[in-house]
């Protein structure tokens, strides 16, 4: 493998090769910048266009080929875990570590699913909705399996449609949001031709799948593995036999790297100016970390960030109108899928909240802050670094997250202690 270290800084270094990062890298490179793009996956595409061989539609194909054809240094299978010095990032692969220098940085780190604890959620075969989708994409067979899809957010529909296509039987999709907020969401969509077609396509694929609003899982049961799920549906409970529970409560942005770099974060989202620049000069942010808004917003924000990073402000400005429209969609998403307070009482005393460290709900109740809970119960101290239980406890107890310390992702001791040239 070539030496990925570069003493000469990239004009634009992009972290994350989902739609936002791809768009940023492509637009910056097409304007002649020296561009690098890093992603911890083996291919570009991020969460939604994952799986290089799959057909993700015209838009995905177009961006992928632009990325392929542009003069961009692609560092896939590398995960950025630390900024040892301003302008230098460290990234680690399975057996190497490299030092990346940049003049401008675009952080397009995407989002992850939010999980909420309820009795039985740690049973084998209870999985994240997106997580199960990713596993099926990488070979897990679901043909003939019964999969209950539950939680909240549009991702549930996409996952259900996908699993169904792979031969799974979906007895029900449980959406915690109420019919009325969903209806408002649906009506709002009328202003968005792109979303409508997308919605219709999904509708066809979802045709025979029962969909229940006002419903959510309250318990998962089984001996060794999942056998059934109890759901609360319109105030009544119902037990449904199943092989898998695909469960996710919308998305939370990945803002840890931004936080390490000192970017201002408010309400969980990275604050940016009209050119997608964060509170830190020359550090831009695009896609889900600035607000959960889907592919289209990610693409337009990525383009603006990429153009602005190479100084093409006029070209960037031309995209502001498009971004404004996508922002409207993001706000609708936010309103429609807001978590209902009843979900705070899902866990029982013994329900494990922190899976890495086996911390039950009862041990968290006595604490006043995330830091206190963490110090005294070890909640969030495991290898996931609080990525799962952090957002859950933020919802359950309104705790604010802790400061971020390196490594942003677990990294080898040898990589963390690497001698950075020039230091």
């Amino acid at each position: 493998m070539m030496d990925k270290d570069s003493q000469q800084p990239f004009d634009v270094l992009v972290i994350g090769a989902g739609p936002a990062g791809m768009a940023a890298a492509v637009r910056a490179a097409e304007r002649g910048g020296r561009v690098g793009i890093v992603d911890d996956n083996p291919n570009c595409g991020g969460q939604i266009w994952r799986g290089a061989e799959d057909d993700h539609g015209q838009e995905a194909t177009a961006w992928s080929s632009r990325l392929r054809n542009a003069d961009i240094t692609k560092l896939f299978g590398m995960r950025v875990f630390h900024q040892p010095e301003t302008g230098v990032l460290l990234a680690e692969g399975t057996d190497d570590v490299c030092e990346l220098r940049y003049t401008n940085l675009v952080l397009a780190t995407g989002a992850r699913e939010r999980f909420l604890p309820f009795p039985g959620w740690t049973l084998p075969n209870v999985m994240g909705a997106g997580g199960l989708q990713a596993m099926v994409k990488s070979g897990l067979p679901v043909r003939g399996k019964r999969v209950v899809v539950a939680g909240t957010g549009p991702l549930l529909l996409a996952v259900a449609a996908y699993l169904r296509k792979q031969g799974a039987e979906i007895p029900i999709i449980c959406e915690q949001a109420s019919w009325s907020s969903l209806a408002r969401f649906g009506v709002g969509l009328l202003g968005r031709p792109g979303k409508i077609t997308q919605g219709l396509q999904l509708k066809k694929e979802l045709a025979e799948i029962p969909f229940a609003a006002n419903s959510w899982p309250i318990g998962a049961h089984g001996g060794q593995v999942l056998e059934s799920v109890t759901i609360s549906r319109g105030g009544k409970t119902e037990v449904i036999a199943c092989d898998f529970l695909a469960c996710g409560f919308h998305l939370v942005p990945n803002v840890e790297l931004q936080s390490l770099l000192g970017c201002q974060i408010s309400g969980g989202f990275v604050q940016v100016d009209e050119f997608q620049q964060t509170s830190v000069q020359r550090v831009f942010c695009a896609g889900e970390p600035t607000g959960i808004g889907g592919v289209e917003l990610a693409l337009v924000e990525g383009q603006i960030a990429g153009l602005a990073a190479v100084g093409e402000k006029n070209a960037a400005q031309k995209l502001f109108g498009e971004r404004r429209e996508s922002h409207r969609f993001a706000r609708m998403l936010d309103r429609a899928f807001r978590l209902r307070p009843e979900l705070r009482s899902l866990p029982s005393a013994e329900t494990i909240v922190c899976r890495c460290e086996d911390v039950p709900y009862s041990r968290l109740q006595e604490h006043r802050s995330w830091r206190a809970a963490k110090l005294h119960s070890r909640c969030g101290m495991g290898p996931c670094q609080g990525r799962v239980c952090g957002p859950a406890t933020q919802f359950l107890f309104q705790w604010n997250p802790d400061s971020v310390r390196p490594p942003v992702f677990p990294a080898r001791v040898g990589s963390l202690g690497r001698v950075v040239s020039g230091l």
């Binding site: 040892p84 010095e85 006595e366 006043r368 802050s369 830091r371 206190a372 110090l375 005294h376 119960s377 070890r378 101290m381 495991g382 290898p383 670094q385 310390r405 390196p406 490594p407 677990p410 990294a411 080898r412 001791v413 040898g414 963390l416 202690g417 690497r418 001698v419 950075v420 230091l423």
Partner: protein
């Protein structure tokens, strides 16, 4: 929490003591003025107010912000047959119509141990911390319970304290993770082997069991150490624990014996038997203990304490990789240095199977940020001794501040110039170990009991800067 605990006993006490309660409407006000009333200023009568568990004298007006949900009552109290006609105002939230014998500032492991010791000797004690239990250096420390022989006094305190931890062992809850894994002082070469023998003799003379191990034995005990180490000294009674939970355990024991704890309360001033909080509330105690760790000098001027920053890195779980706390003998050189920055190989097996990697020492750093140059030096050093560490997954890095004194001994005892003020700070890198013994000898001094070890080396009077006399 405080509120729930206190609601019942207080109601009982109110009845017993014939306190008239009247509700003061608070809906319009967000602060209340407590002032002495003209009609009750005769001899033997004392005015006071009790606020969220803290009693304070009313010799002048104080303005206090109050929360709407507090119930304010005016009181006149008759205490016992001596009929002290006092009058004041009480808020039900944690009320306690008694003054304190001791008010401790700081709920780190040292403050918690002092609270426990005071409470066990029957004192009324209050503890205040601006954050929470075990949130300062105690949250950052490695939790190595280690006997050290830097000086005779350091040995005496660490050994005494280690024995107190051993005695407490059976009472420690699971989450304190007490594990007597022992220390091996690792000698890299023959010169350091000579130090191993000296240390062995010193410990043997003082009744601490140790074992000199040669190169091969060391390899058997710790197969992941690099080949070719000269040997080491195994100190079998050394242990490790998880400091924040140890502090919480001590504090809870104190609370069971009536100690009052107030968290989230920054102290702005102490002295003359009083502790003043940032919201203006004053807490009166016969004695005040400054156990504010590295921040103690902010409250008591003129004490010679400097912040000494340290870095630590924790890995994912690798059970069995490491069995003892391993410290390079060069550590002594590092810890001894009073000026320059230094690192040393110092690794600890946690009960979870994780490995805690230290250590670094730095003066003059005020910010808690990770310093890459220090981190790199520290991790390089660790890998020189244990190459296999390089492949392990590091989960988190953090920093903490040790409260360092010029002679590397803590400050335990009365502060010259204020008879009511005691210090319990300056524990540098040994405060987890020495917390229990520090509390013993501090409370011995407060109560006039005879300490088990000579206390002179720790008296704060030795470390007073000029300003204090001025």
């Amino acid at each position: 929490m405080l509120k729930m605990q206190c609601a019942k006993p207080i109601r009982k006490r109110l009845r017993k003591r014939n306190i008239k309660r009247s509700r003061v409407p608070l809906s319009k006000t967000s602060s209340v003025i407590f002032a002495p009333s003209a009609d009750l200023t005769t001899e033997g009568k004392e005015e006071f107010a009790v606020l969220r568990g803290f009693h304070f004298k009313l010799d002048r007006a104080v303005m206090v912000p109050v929360q709407r949900h507090w119930i304010l009552s005016t009181l006149s109290v008759e205490l016992g047959k001596d009929r002290i006609g006092a009058r004041g105002y009480a808020l039900r939230d944690g009320m306690n119509a008694a003054t304190y014998d001791v008010v401790i500032v700081g709920a780190g492991i040292v403050g918690a141990a002092c609270a426990d010791e005071c409470a066990r000797r029957g004192m009324r004690v209050a503890v205040v911390d601006r954050e929470m239990v075990g949130s300062g250096a105690t949250a950052a420390g490695m939790g190595h319970i280690v006997v050290m022989d830097d000086s005779e006094a350091q040995f005496a305190l660490t050994r005494y304290s280690q024995q107190l931890w051993q005695a407490l062992r059976r009472d420690l809850p699971e989450d304190v993770e007490y594990d007597q894994c022992g220390t091996i002082w690792v000698a890299a070469d023959e010169e350091e082997m000579a130090e191993v023998r000296r240390k062995h003799d010193y410990y043997a003379q003082r009744g601490v069991p140790t074992l000199v191990v040669d190169s091969e034995a060391l390899q058997r005990l710790e197969p992941n150490l690099r080949d070719g180490m000269a040997g080491g000294l195994l100190v079998a009674e050394d242990a490790v624990l998880y400091p924040p939970c140890a502090a919480r355990f001590l504090m809870e024991r104190a609370q069971e014996l009536g100690a009052q704890l107030q968290l989230g309360a920054p102290v702005t001033q102490i002295g003359e038997g009083r502790v003043r909080l940032s919201d203006g509330v004053e807490i009166a105690g016969g004695m005040v203990v400054n156990a504010a760790g590295a921040w103690a000098p902010e409250l008591t001027r003129g004490m010679e304490i400097k912040k000494r920053k340290g870095h630590l890195v924790i890995t994912d779980r690798y059970p069995g990789f490491l069995r003892h706390q391993l410290v390079e003998l060069g550590y002594l050189k590092s810890a001894h240095s009073v000026t320059s920055d230094s690192v040393a190989f110092n690794v600890q097996p946690r009960r979870t199977g994780q490995i805690l990697i230290g250590s670094s020492r730095q003066y003059g750093a005020e910010h808690g940020e990770v310093d890459q140059a220090m981190l790199t030096r520290m991790l390089r050093r660790a890998q020189e001794y244990m190459p296999g560490l390089g492949q392990m997954s590091a989960v988190r890095t953090w920093t903490g501040f040790r409260a360092a004194t010029p002679d590397k001994l803590p400050l335990i005892g009365p502060w010259p110039g204020d008879k009511s003020l005691f210090l319990a700070t300056g524990h540098e890198g040994l405060g987890i170990t020495t917390s229990l013994a520090s509390a013993r000898i501090l409370v011995d001094q407060i109560t006039g009991a005879k300490p088990e070890i000579p206390i002179e080396p720790y008296l704060p009077s030795r470390a007073v800067k000029e300003v204090a006399h001025a």
